[in-house]
Homo-oligomer: 207 residues x 2
DNA sequence: GGAATGACTGTACCGCAGGTCCAGCCGCTC
DNA sequence: GAGCGGCTGGACCTGCGGTACAGTCATTCC
């Protein structure tokens, strides 16, 4: 709140900003506290003033990531809904927009924070794992709500559980990011999202 | 080769065995050399006799993982082919077998080595990344070959690129493992594989 | 029988990263 | 001018990855 001095607008946020970029690029373990404090120009004590330990940083990072992710999804669905009344076509449009968004990324997708956490299991306490879990379950509920609206109008042509179909989007985004990173192919993720879209179409409209 | 003494059957293999379990459970960064040497009962010098550094261990681990993975897939497809002449039904049977295999795991799936590597980017050199990449591309080619055989008999009912459809299996397995781990739901992966199977059916047989 | 080789052991040491402790400082508000 | 938020500075500890190097002991080759 040093708006008058203007010297630094929230050091904590600047730490998180820098940390997020570093973590998504090279992993949490590889991101040292020393590099972060050098980056924002504070001392080690300053870092530990904001975060009691590295785990607290991870927690804050994950929380921030999930929040922003939700905002993006809200906007995306709002945009799609504005263009369309029908729940199925709204969902399909949203998926198209999402795919375009992912495809527009020139570099390979920065990576998924949830997966980052998952494959760094030891580093984090239960609390942080619960956070990741809640994030994924929130996605499930969000997509499931969309599917419920669709199924009321379009009886499914294929026998699928709606929770599974909802999870499938999270699965494909997460897996898509990983495979996209490993193969260094930035468009792979977008193409996989389009495949999910094709599947949703097949389920509710038939082949 | 100390078969006569019988004292130790290949310390290197025992190191890899122990390391694999530890890495898949808690991540590469969290697996210390000290815990490994304590586990197999050798000295630190002994470890560095076998691996020049931790990166070499990672490389050996990944190589071993990919090799074993290929053996499992070979057996699985052979088993499915033995039951079936038709390429589409062979593929569908293989997917069913694969799903059952994943579902039979009482605990959550141990995790995918490729993803482990991907989210530990910094630790590893180019060589190891190339290894992971080659592994994924080998999967693509393997599944693509199956799809090519199918498409010759069953013209696709939906417009999909076969490379994308091949990649989709890797994507769903990898993403499924991650989401399965995060939600601590061991059956999620199996259900997602069944969804992939449903999509393949829809593509080649229609809804 | 002697030399070489493979598979180690033991000891000592280095640098880095995470983390702790604690005293102090500076600008702001009450 | 007292107190608080947001730091600084420095000393110190631990664990881990890694290096260096000399020695050991069983087996194998000539």
């Amino acid at each position: 709140m040093n708006e008058i001095t203007g010297r630094r607008e929230n050091t904590r946020d600047r730490l998180l900003e820098l940390a997020e970029a570093a973590v998504l690029q090279k992993g949490f373990g590889a991101t040292s506290i020393e590099e972060l404090i050098a980056g924002v120009g504070i001392s080690k004590s300053g870092f530990f003033y904001h975060f009691s330990d590295k785990g607290e940083l991870a927690k804050a990072l994950l929380l921030r990531y999930i929040e922003r992710d939700n905002v993006i999804l809200d906007e995306l669905f709002a945009q799609a809904d504005a263009l369309n009344e029908d729940p199925l076509h709204g969902f399909l449009v949203a998926l198209k927009l999402f795919g375009d968004m992912m495809g527009a990324m020139t570099e390979v997708h920065p990576g998924c924070m949830v997966a980052s956490v998952c494959y760094q299991e030891h580093l984090f306490d239960r609390e942080i794992h619960a956070l990741a879990r809640d994030g994924v379950i929130a996605w499930r509920r969000r997509f499931r709500a969309r599917l419920d609206a669709i199924v009321a109008l379009y009886p499914p042509k294929l026998p699928v559980e709606l929770d599974d179909l909802a999870d499938m989007l999270s699965v494909m985004v997460d897996g898509g990011i990983t495979i996209s990173r490993v193969t260094r192919d930035p468009v792979l993720l977008a193409r996989q999202i389009m495949l999910y879209r094709a599947f949703v179409k097949a389920v509710f409209l038939g082949a």
